[in-house]
């Protein structure tokens, strides 16, 4: 009888030990998966986002890049350039040239007219921005050797396109005195920037990341410093409204100044 009782006690003790060990084993496994998930390579990011029903329309690159602190000032020289422009009536106010085209061009010919300084001043310094363009508006952004500028007003040309594909007019602003403020420094990769934005909880579930570009954007509203920024655009749910967020490519932190809002407004209104 006593032996049976001892066996029973042992059984209970061992079952308790088993439960304890199993818990430990389970905890161990969970922590290991967690530490693996801390790796932020692009595949892992995409997988985690998929779990939140966030889809990405492209594969963000893991490649590390370099960037500069740049200074640029809005330029009024377009005022003089306006006088020499042909086939349009152009006027300049508040840093922006507004032009109405007399002889309507087809939108396919924009690339050609950009190269002609009698049609578009400094046209060779701008680059077509496919992601920012749509059927009503074609956007070109100002570019120099160091990168492309994307600011709320300055450094871009926006062509208004009619429903039958003709260029009706355009607005243009221009940045000059572009200077390097500090020597080249490494910046984070596109996939790291996307991962950071996701970790900041800035991307709602059920969103689609439409595009991601490295543009020089304004760091602070009241000075002329431009820094490399990962600009990420996404749509949420069935809405076609594109939201734009910026990540500081030097530090990986979120930039949520009013500048972003302006950028969204100017994007949405055109």
């Amino acid at each position: 009888m006593d032996f049976k009782r001892i066996q029973l006690i042992f059984l209970i003790v061992f079952i308790m030990i088993d439960i304890f060990l199993f818990n430990m084993f389970n905890e161990n496994r969970n922590l290991q998966t967690e530490s693996v998930s801390q790796q932020s390579n692009s595949n892992e990011v995409l997988k985690q986002m998929q779990n939140d029903q966030i889809s990405v329309a492209f594969t963000p690159s893991d490649k590390p890049l370099d960037g500069y602190y740049l200074a640029a000032t809005p330029d009024n020289s377009l005022k003089n350039d306006a006088k020499n422009l042909q086939n349009q009536s152009a006027r300049f106010s508040n840093g922006v040239l507004r032009s109405t085209i007399k002889l309507k061009w087809g939108k396919d010919s924009i690339n050609k007219i950009m190269k002609n300084r009698f049609y578009i001043a400094h046209g060779n310094q701008y680059e077509y921005a496919k992601d920012l363009s749509n059927s009503n508006t074609i956007v070109y952004l100002q570019k120099n050797d160091n990168g492309t500028f994307y600011s709320n007003i300055y450094g871009q040309i926006r062509f208004n396109i009619s429903s039958d594909g003709l260029v009706l007019g355009y607005t243009q602003s221009y940045l000059s005195n572009i200077k390097v403020l500090r020597e080249k420094a490494p910046i984070i990769s596109a996939s790291k920037a996307l991962y950071n934005l996701y970790q900041y909880n800035e991307i709602p579930n059920n969103s689609k990341i439409e595009w991601e570009q490295m543009y020089y954007t304004k760091l602070l509203q009241d000075n002329q410093v431009y820094i490399p920024t990962w600009v990420i655009a996404f749509t949420t749910g069935d809405s076609s409204n594109v939201q734009i967020k910026r990540i500081n490519a030097f530090t990986g932190s979120m930039l949520n100044s009013s500048n972003t809002k302006d950028a969204i407004n100017s994007f949405a209104t055109n």
């Binding site: 049976k4 066996q7 029973l8 042992f10 059984l11 061992f14 079952i15 030990i17 088993d18 060990l21 199993f22 430990m24 084993f25 905890e27 161990n28 922590l31 290991q32 530490s35 801390q38 500069y68 602190y69 200074a71 200077k179 390097v180 403020l181 500090r182 020597e183 080249k184 420094a185 760091l219 602070l220 000075n223 002329q224 410093v225 820094i227």
Partner: protein
Amino acid sequence: MKIKKMILPLLLTVAVLISIFLSMIIWINPSSYQNVNKSSINDSNETYKKTLPSVYSPTQVVKNDYTGAQYILTNQSVNLISEIRTQMLSFSDFKFSKLENVSLNNYKHFMSRKNSLMLNYPDTVTTNILSRVLNNNLKKLPNVDFNRILIPLDDNTSIYLLHDNSKTVYKISLKNDNLNKIKDIISKDVRQIPVNTYFKDNKPMIAFTKSFYMPQYSYLYNTSSQNFFVNRLLPGSNTPPKRHHNTTIYNDQDRRIAFNEKNHEAVYLDSMANPASSDLSQFLVQSYKNISNLGLGNNLNSIRYFNYNDKNTDITYRNYVEGFPIFDNNSNGAVQMRIIDNVSVRYTFSLDVLQTPVPSGKKDLKMISTKQVVNNLVNLGYDTKKIGTVELGYQSIKVGSSNMLINLKPTWFVQYNGKWINYNKATQNQY
């Protein structure tokens, strides 16, 4: 009946086997807690390892052209040193030798070798440190002291290491397939300022021979909070801080940190530090490790090793802007670490951290030649014998109207009687 009797021992056996099995799995798999701890340690190791190559990189590039004329090279848009370092990473097939019987004249000859590039350190380092800068490329070389790297521009089979204090020259035979790339780096968008090398008390110095212009810079800066450092460095401190004039002092049993409210300088005394190594390489690595543990954040990106003082066993790091050191109002550099005794270490650092460069809107400033600097000081009554190194640097000036902006003004700094003095202030030719 028999089966019923067997159930209990059978269950017991199964329970024992399960516990053995689970114990084995847990033992074989590395413990979860260890894993988590390790990864966080790796993180802090990573930041220190990542910034170490830039902190212990040379700070000055001097070119000797084919006529023997010397120039300091600067480039405002790329860091010449880090570009050259990238090319040096592919050096291979090293053979190390010490050149015998190098006289002072031989040494002078090496320093002005025609058609060569010289990468200068502000103070002595070791081959071990250089190896760490070059991703452990030179691991197998003997560990020797030096302060200049000479790269001949007409010979892709060797470089030389020069040590001013002992006048020793080491030759490293190697394979340098990137010589043309290095030549490209030092010719594209580079500004050349004429200099020459002269010897004072048998110590080589670099003098700017003509007057020249230097750009001025402006930066936005941030002042780190005292609380951040108190929480980080004195986590066990419960006693309220003591105030004394402009100074706030926090204490715990073994550590003490004092903040000067006026010049934003912190002095941190750690009486429980690890003993410092007497080996220079280990000392340099360990002191940088300690400094990166202080939590200086952004400051680590632009500081460079500036000076090692054998007598006081102190080491100074300074912020650099476009290849030139910044001298703050306090004379201790961006961070200074001083060994007090076997177990005490004192750190002095600034709470002000340079953040974002902004357009200075100021014209380049005309600088007089090194000779003129010395002459002017001597005319004012300074003793020639006490004048040591004359260094071109930047003086940081806080802009009164805004508490966010620092102007960096190119200024001469002179080591007088072992202490750095600001030439502008010394001659009362203040801004």
